[in-house]
């Protein structure tokens, strides 16, 4: 394990912080700190350049106008894209899955270019998907079910280079059948709640990718109880 501090970039929390996305960064930071791994959150606000030196990037969800501004900013300051070529770990939630793709088309039929980080396209679905989601992680990526809350109009189609994150049991996800995307060390999901407090196994997977070290489990009774409660509520 390296002695240096793991830097968690919280990308544009002022634009893409609608769904408690700060929570994902806090969970990563605390789960590392509690295990003796030095970690810190680096907020990157709108108007600031995006560094390419962070270890983990957390990108959240936002309203349509905020999302458009965010893509513009991230394309003008391509630090995140450079970090990906250097094997950084990236979590994209809700808007993240749309703006990381090749393109996304809104309800007004206007297509916006994405950041081209994952092989996917998104478009507006007929109805808004709102509610609890339960999904089974694809390819044994991590233990236990994936749980979260979705609230989105977008539908996402994955190309051959991207794999789904999970298979939907309850809820909609990308298209009613699969949920999220994994490509290299980029993980995208429509789920919030936020997603990492709800799914500590996914948080630890990202931590293991970033540190290159296997981490021991953490016993947090509140988290176990909450997961059980949410799964019961959704079933």
């Amino acid at each position: 394990m390296s002695e240096s501090t793991i830097q968690i970039a919280l990308v544009l929390p002022d634009l893409l912080g609608t769904y408690g996305d700060f929570g994902n960064a806090v969970v990563l930071e605390k789960r590392m700190t509690w295990r003796g791994i030095k970690a810190e959150i680096v907020p990157i606000n709108y108007g600031q350049p995006v560094p390419d030196s962070c270890d983990i990037y957390v990108v959240g969800g936002g309203e349509d106008t905020a999302q458009t501004l965010a893509v513009k900013h991230l394309r003008e300051h391509p630090g995140l894209q450079r970090a990906v070529t250097k094997n950084a770990v990236v979590l994209g939630v809700c808007a993240g899955i749309q703006i990381f793709g090749e393109s996304f088309t809104r309800a007004d039929n206007v297509t916006h270019p994405g950041m081209g980080l994952i092989d996917s396209t998104s478009h507006a679905g007929g109805s808004r998907a709102i509610g609890e989601v339960i999904a089974e992680p694809a390819n044994g990526l991590f233990e236990g079910v994936l749980t979260g809350f979705e609230n989105h109009q977008g539908r996402t189609v994955l190309g051959p280079s991207a794999r789904p994150l999970a298979h939907v049991k309850v809820g909609t996800g990308n298209d009613g059948s699969v949920e999220g995307a994994v490509q290299g060390r980029i993980v995208c999901t429509y789920l919030h709640g936020p997603v990492l407090p709800r799914n500590p196994q996914l948080a630890d997977l990202l931590i293991e990718w970033a540190t290159g070290t296997k981490v021991a489990p953490l016993d947090l009774p509140a988290v176990t109880a909450m997961r059980a409660e949410r799964v019961r509520a959704a079933s």
Binding site: G20, G23, L69, G131, P194, P197, A222
Partner: protein, 415 residues
């Protein structure tokens, strides 16, 4: 100025009478406070009821995300210096609630109406207000209500079109300033409160907003913090004539000071002298059960309502001063918003080192948030039982909407 209200046309009069009757019936049948049902019937019988019922009255409409009920009550108290005031007290803040309140006091020459942000265009359009108060705009109930920017846009369009209306607006809130910017007559109030998380980019042109201390400006257009006419200072306010008036409120916290200054500015626009307004609103102590203190087995529990991140953030500041144990109560019913993501936008870290119980239907979600905030806590889902488990003495109870409503009803039943 005190014209008596125009006489109601027959159809409205009949609609109002039937409305009052069904309001009484619903109260008798235990269907709640009857605040909305009567108005709903009246509106169905006469869709123009709101327009007719406000004719000939001087109307003030109060809107915003947080503090509506308190500010409305404060303003109504202040305006009662001028004459009888019709007002919707119980948070029934949609048109049917307004019709109910107005028809109960058909002769009151003044009306002070709390209005849900979503209904503001319809209500302002129908009631031709002399004063419109816009407190603050931030996100509320994620999966239920439209985007903050959509609301700002609809308030802006409505306020810009209002004739002979004084808009009282919080210039420390970027969204509110944008909404009121083009109004014919604006009174700007520096409240010292604003939720910056939703206004990083300009609601008018999308460019970043830059803050320097209390001042802010858009880097892309001419939107900037206007020079305030009224200023909230620590426990006092500065009037447009540069007089300093001590507030000395019964209600706690900076947020209620902001509400009081907004209400004073609005009352002033309606003709109430400031000293008189402040004297009256000092007496406001219990707003539909909020801030009520209940006694249980030697515990004296103060009930506080907080509905969204901005509200919770303010309330945690209020309870920080005294280091009392706290019961935090969270539900996620339809009226609260089903998605609890917002818990992560609330700085619960401020509760570190205090005795805390996580309570409510979603106590475990809160417990997870508290765990990561490194706040020691226990879980007791029933809030009354949670109060009983605290050490005897003062306890702060902070609850979100349905949790507060249910707790308040149970506490009232026990008294």
């Amino acid at each position: 100025m005190n014209d008596s209200p125009a006489r109601l046309p027959l159809r409205t009069a009949a609609a109002v009478k039937l409305g009052n009757l069904s309001s009484t019936l619903s109260q008798k049948m235990g269907l709640g406070a009857g605040g909305m049902i009567g108005g709903r019937v009246a509106l169905k019988l006469d869709p123009q009821a709101l327009n007719r019922l406000t004719q000939g009255r001087r109307v003030a409409v109060v809107t915003g995300t947080n503090g509506k009920t308190t500010s409305t009550m404060m303003l109504a108290r202040a305006v009662s210096a001028l004459g009888e005031v019709a007002t919707n007290h119980s948070g029934a803040n949609m048109p049917d609630g307004h019709v109910t309140a107005l028809s109960k006091q058909p002769d009151a020459p003044y009306a002070v109406l709390e209005c849900d942000e979503g209904y503001f265009p319809a209500v302002a359009g129908a009631s031709n207000p002399a004063v419109a108060v816009i407190l603050n705009l931030s996100r509320d109930q994620l999966d239920r209500v439209g985007e903050v920017r959509t609301i700002e846009r609809s308030l802006r369009d409505t306020v810009t079109a209002l004739k002979d209306c004084t808009v009282v607006a919080n210039c420390d809130d970027v969204m509110v300033t944008s909404a009121a910017w083009n109004a014919q007559k604006v009174v700007w109030v520096a409240t010292g409160t604003g939720w910056h998380h939703d206004s990083a980019s300009c609601p008018r042109c999308g460019n970043p907003i830059q803050w320097q201390g209390e001042h802010w400006h858009c880097t892309g257009c001419d939107l900037a913090r206007p020079h305030p006419n009224w200023i909230t200072t620590d426990e006092a306010m500065i009037t447009p004539e540069h007089h300093k008036v001590e507030l000395r409120l019964t209600l706690p916290g900076k947020f209620n000071q902001a509400n009081a200054v907004m209400a004073s500015a609005a009352a002033y626009a309606l003709g109430v002298p400031t000293e008189e307004a402040v004297r009256r609103l000092r007496g406001v102590s219990n707003v539909s059960g909020r801030y009520r203190t209940i006694q249980r087995n030697g515990r004296s529990a103060r009930l506080l309502l907080s509905k969204n991140p901005a509200g919770w953030s303010e309330t945690l500041t209020v309870v920080k001063e005294a280091n009392h144990p706290a019961v935090l109560v969270i539900n996620a019913q339809e009226a609260d918003g089903r998605d609890l993501s917002w818990l992560w936008d609330v700085p619960f870290e401020r509760m570190q080192g205090r005795t805390v119980i996580a309570s409510g239907e979603r106590a475990t979600d809160l417990a997870v948030r508290l765990t990561y905030a490194e706040v020691e806590h226990t879980i007791v889902p029933d809030p009354l039982k949670a109060i009983d488990q605290m050490p005897p003495g003062a306890v702060e109870v902070i609850a979100n909407y349905t949790a507060f409503r249910d707790l308040n009803a149970r506490a009232a039943a026990d008294e």
